[in-house]
Symmetry: C2
Subunit: 258 residues, 2 copies
């Protein structure tokens, strides 16, 4: 019996980790994860063998997880957020697919039982902290052009603009990438008003969380880092202020019926 | 002190409910929810006053939750999935907004402390059960034209098609609506191959869960009901079969680098 759990642990707050995720980690002898994620989880990881690899070594991490599980060690491959959304889960299945095509030489991978456990993604954490920003049709776009050509990304931003979707940008900037977010903003300004609300949510649900609500025309990559969720409202999203509290919501249109 | 928790309880499996959601429910004296959701939660709801309203009475439910909280009763407004995604959260803020504009006469609503607690949405449950369908850019489209004109929905489907997003359809059919899903399929067939994998996930993560993976050209509203999540892959999503297991994943493009 060889078992691999592919586990998302949510945005950071330990109270947003699903019990199913903790049970899977608890049942595992080996954890494959970026170290920071495990620090957020605390005690459940004690006594497990922890395999870390540098950020950027995503393929190596998926491969290691399959190898460990295939060797008989119950293994959890872990990432924050939802591991199925821009994260490690898809790499496990890409590797399996390559094996099925005979392009890898690890037939033992095909005997691994795999269970994927979803988690709460950053866009959801952000939307909930400011109200209900994802109340109507939305999309996600990764601004990383390491694996996807910029032409494809640009086309998607145009589509998201013309479709008037609420948009959450994953990987908005990195140390080496700083211009994509401003390009994305300029594209969206062709489709929706300058005053469209934008959420900048940094370290969401964590101790050092900070949240800002700005206008689309104020969005600037210099205010954003790798730990920031950027969500842009649609043309109907509203920013409301009630005393010291402020909220963003995207209506479904019920109030037209009131 | 008046407190309203706006709580998502995930797709159904009690092991996917965040501890934060249970804590909020536990702290509440009054629960506003569709009865079925509470049955799935079990014991934590015992001894609470349960306010149910018929499906369709969404505005009434949000209003009732604000009224109860404003009267001093700690209240939880509950829905399955993520309450911020096509669900009740946005209605609470629509009502607050109307009050701020002077279009309601409930100034007491403005003193209610509101906390929104996200949950795992059906698209995530579906993607995880078949592997990693949401591994790259995706969008959601509600096919309900009760509040959104069909022209807007149709335009969004075209945008989702041209942008090659993975698409999850919420509210794909209802007792009174049966043609929208087939129209959506026909639109998407203009943009992506007939063999594009489609997930039909019914009662996801619940005891009577059923999962089918079909081709886009096989998608038919007659095979779908209100409890079915319909997710359509993008042009690169792959359906793979490993013995008795089958998976769908949407690659990010790592294997091009192998």
């Amino acid at each position: 019996m060889s078992q691999l759990y592919v586990v998302g642990t949510g945005p950071g707050d330990s109270q947003l980790v699903a019990p199913k995720a903790l049970t899977a980690i608890n049942a595992s002898s080996d954890l494959v994860a970026y170290g920071l994620y495990l620090d957020l989880l605390g005690g459940v990881c004690d006594g497990k063998t922890h395999h870390d690899l540098p950020l950027g070594e995503e393929i190596g991490r998926a491969r290691l997880a399959l190898d460990l599980a295939a060797s008989g060690k119950t293994t959890a491959l872990i990432s924050s957020g939802d591991i199925g959304i821009y994260a490690m889960a898809t790499l496990v299945f890409e590797l399996l697919d390559l094996q099925l095509q005979g392009k890898e030489s690890h037939p033992e991978w095909l005997d691994v039982e795999i269970e994927v456990i979803p988690g709460i993604s950053a866009m959801q954490a952000g939307a909930s902290r400011v109200g209900a920003m994802l109340g109507h049709d939305f999309c996600t776009v990764s601004l990383s052009d390491l694996l996807t050509p910029w032409e494809t990304i640009e086309k998607r931003i145009h589509s998201a603009g013309s479709g008037d979707f609420v948009i959450s940008f994953y990987n908005p900037v990195s140390k080496k990438r700083d211009w994509q977010l401003n390009s994305a903003r300029d594209i969206l300004l062709q489709y929706r008003p300058a005053e469209t609300p934008v959420l900048l949510g940094r370290q969401l649900t964590r101790e050092d969380e900070s949240i800002r609500i700005i206008r689309l025309d104020q969005l600037d990559a210099k205010d954003v880092d790798m730990f920031t969720m950027v969500s842009v409202g649609n043309s109907e999203s509203k920013h409301i202020v009630n005393g010291s509290k402020e909220w963003v919501y995207t209506p479904r249109g019920y109030s037209k019926k009131l």
